[in-house]
């Protein structure tokens, strides 16, 4: 599957991959208005989504549990990477 991302979402995915030492390759293709994450396997999407969810719990909330900017991006990724 191909996934369309914003630059922020791409940067966050790279951060998540690094944080959890996720071993798979992320193949990004830069386009004029967006970035495509190419050839993502469904199970990889599911795993990445869970990692985003874990990272959200680490960095995504301020002291009042209001979602911060990183958290917003992570929540977006959780929605984008949802595989029914």
């Amino acid at each position: 599957m191909n996934v369309r991302l914003t630059p922020k979402q791409k940067d966050m995915l790279i951060k998540v991959k690094k944080r959890f030492k996720w071993g798979k390759k992320l193949d990004f293709e830069e386009q004029v208005t967006s970035i495509i994450l190419k050839g993502l396997e469904e199970y990889d999407a599911i795993d990445l989504r869970e990692l985003c969810s874990d990272y959200l719990l680490e960095v995504g909330f301020d002291e009042s549990y209001v979602v911060n900017e990183e958290g917003r991006t992570l929540e977006e990724l959780i929605d984008i990477l949802y595989v029914e």
Binding site: I46, E58, V66, Y82
Partner: protein, 317 residues
């Protein structure tokens, strides 16, 4: 002062928080099927209502996202004036909460008015504050329960209180005892009482609802703070409640995730030292702060992940 709810819910005689709690109790009771004479009938279609409400939120967010220039200034100026006048000291975020959840034909009229007359909105709010308030705060039950419409449309304060109450109402529905999974209502802790006595919740809940404004502890904070899920006392942060609504995660699935997780992660700590653990259920994944018992965020579980976890679980057995 007009009464919003027979006998006990007089607008202006309680704080917004109490209105919220009152609505919460009503939603809770209605979702349990024990509400009887609550705001929602026992045959109410909660899912449709929540979807309906979500559409209103989306509509409002769409509307505000398209505002710019003088229109935005007028709208937010009017909104701030409204909020300042009702004395809640809330920000625009608060107004979004109030107005973004509204429905009914009056809301449509309000949106139309706003869309066609933004330049006049600030003066509208200034010159006719109750009118402004009632135009943007409408009982979302208006179609089914329009006996309240007149109150809401003629009393800005009532509109605000009613809105807070219906915010609570939806929270109560979402967190209510189960919408059909057979968990009793936790008792509501009333001022001066000893606390939670689960099992006799139905009658106590009803009694409490008839004594709005008399709560030292809201029902959703009763019981064991460390996620007393067995009694249905699940709590949400504002963010997680929004996510639950936006992602259409059902309460029954949340509870199932916590009671019967396919996987439960170890407790991890965030960059502020707060713990969290994640419960991956068949249909929902719920992250909880185990110290407070509050749900921090929630999202639907991928069915493929659920299948994988089930297979792993079966393999372990």
């Amino acid at each position: 002062m007009k009464s919003l709810q027979e006998g006990n819910f007089a607008a202006g005689e309680q704080s917004a928080e109490e209105a919220f709690q009152n609505g919460y109790i009503k939603g809770w009771e209605s979702a349990s099927g024990n509400g009887g004479n609550g705001w929602i009938g026992s045959d109410a279609d909660y899912e449709s209502y929540i979807n309906y409400r979500q559409n209103e939120i989306d509509g409002f967010n769409q509307f505000t996202s398209e505002l710019s220039g003088p229109g935005a200034f007028a709208f937010y100026g009017g909104a701030n004036l409204y909020e300042g006048a009702i004395g809640l000291g809330e920000s625009i975020g608060g107004l979004t909460r109030f107005t973004g959840v509204q429905g009914g034909s009056a809301a449509g009229v309000a949106w139309t008015d706003l869309g066609t007359g933004l330049q006049n909105l600030a003066s509208y709010a200034y010159n006719d504050l109750p009118g402004f308030a009632s135009a943007i705060a409408v009982d979302p039950f208006i179609n089914a329960y329009d006996r309240y419409a007149d109150i809401y449309n003629n009393d800005g304060l009532a509109a605000m209180m009613g809105t807070m109450a219906t915010d609570g109402l939806v929270k109560g529905i979402l967190e209510g005892p189960t919408r059909g999974i057979g968990i009793d209502i936790p008792a509501v802790t009333k001022k001066g009482s000893a606390g939670n006595t689960s099992g006799s919740g139905s009658s106590q809940g009803s009694q409490s609802a008839n004594n709005a404004g008399d709560f030292s502890t809201p029902p959703f904070e009763a019981g064991n703070p460390a996620l007393d899920v067995a009694e249905g006392a699940m709590q949400h942060t504002t963010h997680s409640l929004n996510q639950k609504i936006n992602r259409q995660v059902k309460s029954v699935d949340e509870l199932d995730a916590i009671k019967n997780p396919l996987k439960k992660t170890d407790v991890k700590y965030d960059n502020q030292g707060r713990p969290s653990e994640k419960f991956i259920g068949e249909n929902a994944t719920v992250a909880v702060n185990p110290e407070t018992g509050k749900v921090v965020t929630v999202h639907p579980t991928s069915s493929k992940l659920a299948e994988r976890l089930k297979r792993q679980k079966e393999g372990e057995q």
